[in-house]
Structure formats: C-alpha cells, structure tokens
Amino acid sequence: MNKNVERLYNGIIKENPTFVLMLGMCPTLAVTSSAINGLGMGLSTTVVLVLSNLLISAFRKVIPNGVRMPAYIVIVASLVTVVQFMMQAYTPSLSDSLGVYIPLIVVNCIILGRAESYASKNPVVPSIFDGLGMGLGFTLGLTLIGLFRELLGAGQIFGAQVLSLSWFTPITIFVMAPGAFLVLACLVAVMNIVRAKMEAKGKPLAKPSGCITGDCAGCGMSATCTGKNRNQQQLKKQSRRIDTDERINFNCSRICDCK
C-alpha cells in the first residue's frame, strides 16, 4: 500500500484516536452534544494537526532535542490562534458553542502525540498525511458521537428534526454530560466487536503497526493490542529461563516486531 494512503487508513480506522487510542477525551466528551459541534471541533483540530505536523516535520532537524516540547507548543499555539480568529470571523455561532475548547486544542494530546511520535521523525509529506488521517479519524469519532447524542437527546440530525416530537420524547440525558460517556462506551464496544470479528476471520484490524515507544505500559494501543496477550503467554513460558534482571527490563519490544 502506498505509504500516504496507509497513513490515512491508519489514522481513520486502525489507530482511530477516539475509539482506539482514546486520545483527546476532554473535547470528545465535552463538545459532542450535537453532530455539528463534533464536526466543527474535529475539522478545526484537523486543520491544526495537518499544519503542525507539516511545520514540525519541516523543522525537525533544526529543533534541538532538549527544547522540543516548548518549540512544538509555540508552533501549535500560533496555529490555534489563527484558527480561532478565523472561526470567530466566519463561523461565529460555532465558535460560541465550542467556546473554550478551541483554545484548548493547543494541549490536545493527539496533536502533541503525533508531533512527538511521528512528525518529529518522518519526512514532510507522510507527516501531512499522518495528520490528515488522524484529524479525519478524530472528526469521524466526534461526529459519530455527536450524531447519536443529538438523535437520542433531541431527535435531530445536524439540527434538522428527524424524530417528530409528537411521538418521540427526547431522552435529555444524552445531550448532558453523562450521555457522552454512555454513547462513547457503546461505540467503543461496537468497535471492539467488529475488531474481534475481523480477527476471527483472519483479517486483523488493529495489529499494531509499530509500537511508538516499544513499551506496552505507555502504549496507547495496549488496551486493544492483539500482540500483547501473545507476548504475555510467551513471556510466561520463557520467564523461567530468563533470569530476574532481564525479566524486570522485559518489555514489548523484545517479542513483537515493534520498533
């Protein structure tokens, strides 16, 4: 597969930031009370993500390792400011309803995560596609959650009344905070069922394409990683043979092909 297409597929399906990596939960739960809010939040994050990946990847050889985090923050914060002003100018109502979550994109885990784990180590073009894939995956997740919450909580889809209020009583809990948790949990459960079915068929969806750090504990995939159980079984088998010191240092990278 073409590397750029692979990056898109990776971001949208395989390592979907909302349903698989569970990153950026704060905006995911907070702004998805309607589909349009989710879409707006997702798209603005996508814009920032693509541009920040581009810039960080372009400057990756110039930025000294010791101050890379402040440098990333400066880049991301400048981009977020631009996006925020643009939204205030052209989509004021959306900007109002998203409120503080637009400036908070600066500290969104997805953006710093991709900068740290991908853009700072890879050339510009794949980095752009990586940002695009992750951003679209985030948008997809947020819009889906927003869609269900809006449908159940108000009987609307993108603001249009689809379930007539004459027979449908809106389940208002879904547009309130607890509803976000319920919908997210259900969608993740469905995602895991699909994943399990695909694996049973021999077409694994989420085989880790490469651990970021080589350490299962710090890996975002560890909840759904298919390699982990196998590794642990092997680890158990081998543990008698390995002396204590080695066992303590044992991590994912020794067995699975990560890194």
Partner: protein, 315 residues
C-alpha cells in the same frame, strides 16, 4: 444426608438461606407497599409494575444469552430490582420509559459490572436517577386520577401546609410505592423479623436525617414538619429497602452505621439546600460510591489480634 453437612474445607456449617429465598422475602415485604400503590393509583400502577418487572427479567435473560453466561433470572434479583424500580416511578409514566429504565438497571448498572454481587450501585436507584435526568418532565409529573401534581414535599417547600396523617397512610401524590409510610413499615418489620435486614443502616440513616432537619430545616423543633419530612418522599422506602441492599452497602457493622450517617447527611443536604424537593435516590447512590472506602477503614479486628499503634519515632 443433611444439607447442613458438607465434607469440604471450612466453613462447615452453612445457612439454609439462598439468594432466591432472601429475594422472595424482599418481594413479600414489598407486597403491602405495592398493593397500596395499586389501590391508590389504580390499574396504571399495576401495569407499570408488571411492565418494569418484565423488562428487568427479560433484559437479564437476553443479556445472559448474548454473552453466553449461565442464566441467572431464577435468583429473583431481577424481579426485586424491577419491583423496586416500579415503586420509584410515578404512575403516570409512559410504559416504554419504564422499559428503558428496567433495561438500564439490569444491563448497564448490574450486568456490565459482573452481575449480582458485583454492581457498585443499587440498580433500581441507578435506573431511577437515569430516568429522572433523561425524562425529567415525565418523572416529576405526579398527576394521576384524583391527585393533581405536587407531592407533599414540594408543597412543603412552597410553604403550603400538608396533612401529616394522610401522608402516614399514603393518600397523597408521589411515586407508586413511596406514599404510604405505614405499608412500608409493615414490610420493613417483616424483613427485620425474618432477619433479612438489620436496623443499623435504616436507624442511623433516619436518626441522622432527623438531626439534620432539626438543625438546618429552618423549622426548629416543629414535630409536624419533621414527621412530614420523614413520611414524605422516598425516605422510608429508601432507608429500609434501598440502602440495605446487601451488595451496595458495607459489610462491616461499623461501616453500616457510617453508611447510614452518610445517606442521612446527603438526603438532608439535598432536601434543604438542593434544587429539588427530593434527594433520597441521589443520596443513596452517592453513598453507594463511598462503600469501598468505608469498608476499607472499618475492617474489624480479628479475634485475638492485638492492635498495635505504629510507634512514633523518637526524636
């Protein structure tokens, strides 16, 4: 062979009580309340009770089928959950909302956390709170038959006078099972006599609540007001049937008293200072969440073990 002897490791003497037997006692204890509710609110109440129980049992059965677990509906706990939930609903609630409530209680609050014995909050109360937030208008609409709207608690909040005697008997507006303090007390006495519940949680709950109301209720030592607060709303039902749920209350005796005190304080806080007139269900599920911590700090000393204080280091 006697059922009492088990050739196995300890314990060797076992109680004859089974889960289904205890649940049966609870159902019997709830009968006076349910019958009074049906008498008070008419056929709608009966239909709502049956629909809610059916929804709970059916969702447990379906869930067990889907996840290929051993079927557990014959322990009757789903019936108890359904009955308790129905008693906590206003009789005017549309039946399909009760079905959603029953399914939420069983699937999300109970089965998702591992089934009976693993749930961290009372399923019936969890579902009641879910419905209260989800269908706020329907859940607070108490207009049924002769009753028009406001519950005694809401009337008291608005400064209106209430008839304490009719609250004691239960001829007031409210949810199906909460109105009659006498019917609830009959069931509670039955449970206490059968040894299903003991008085620690209900007594500490109610005493704490009374003290709180005397101190902060704003009516001083007005006994009429205190009695009305005790008989109004879900306090009696909650104290005897919900807070004493085995799974979601502490197992240690001291812990049970602390748990009752927490329930009492929360209920008083919600009723005196909250946005709504009623707060029993929220108070109990909030206290349910504190149970692991309460149990951790109230572990009793084992027999014969001398408790040693950690010595302070010499300066």
């Amino acid at each position: 062979m006697s059922d009492l002897y088990h050739v196995s490791s300890s314990p060797h003497v076992r109680s004859k009580d089974t889960t289904s037997k205890i649940m049966l006692y609870v159902i019997m204890a709830l009968l006076p309340t349910s019958l009074f509710g049906i008498y008070n609110f008419g056929i709608r109440a009966l239909i709502l009770i049956l629909v809610t129980i059916a929804s709970c049992v059916a969702s447990e059965w379906i869930f067990n089928k889907i996840v290929h677990k051993k079927n557990s509906i014959d322990d009757l706990s789903a019936v108890v959950t359904g009955l308790l939930l129905a008693l906590n609903l206003p009789a005017s609630l549309p039946w399909w909302e009760a079905v959603i409530g029953g399914a939420f209680a069983i699937v999300i609050v109970k089965m998702m956390f591992g089934g009976l014995g693993q749930n961290f909050m009372n399923p019936a109360l969890g579902a009641r709170c879910f419905l209260l937030i989800a269908f706020a208008a329907d859940m607070t609409n108490f207009t049924v038959g002769a009753y028009s709207g406001a519950t005694p608690l809401a009337q008291m909040r608005n400064g209106e006078a209430v008839n304490t005697m009719s609250m004691l008997i239960g001829k007031t507006a409210g949810t199906i099972g909460e109105t009659s303090a006498i019917a609830i007390l009959i069931g509670a006495i039955f449970l206490i006599l059968m040894g299903v519940i003991d008085l620690r949680i209900p007594a500490s709950y109610i005493i704490t609540f009374v003290v709180f109301i005397l101190l902060f209720g704003g009516h001083g030592f007005d006994m009429n007001y205190v009695t009305a607060q005790l008989c109004g709303g879900g306090l009696m039902l909650g104290a005897f049937f919900m807070a004493t749920d085995y799974v979601t209350s502490p197992i240690t005796p001291r812990g049970q008293i602390i748990f009752g005190i927490c329930c009492g304080i929360f209920t008083g806080l919600f009723r005196c200072f909250g946005a709504n007139a009623e707060g029993v269900s929220f108070a109990i599920i909030l206290s349910n969440l504190l149970v692991p911590m309460i149990e951790k700090y109230t572990v009793p000393n084992a027999f014969g073990v001398v408790k040693t204080k950690p010595e302070k280091e010499a300066k």
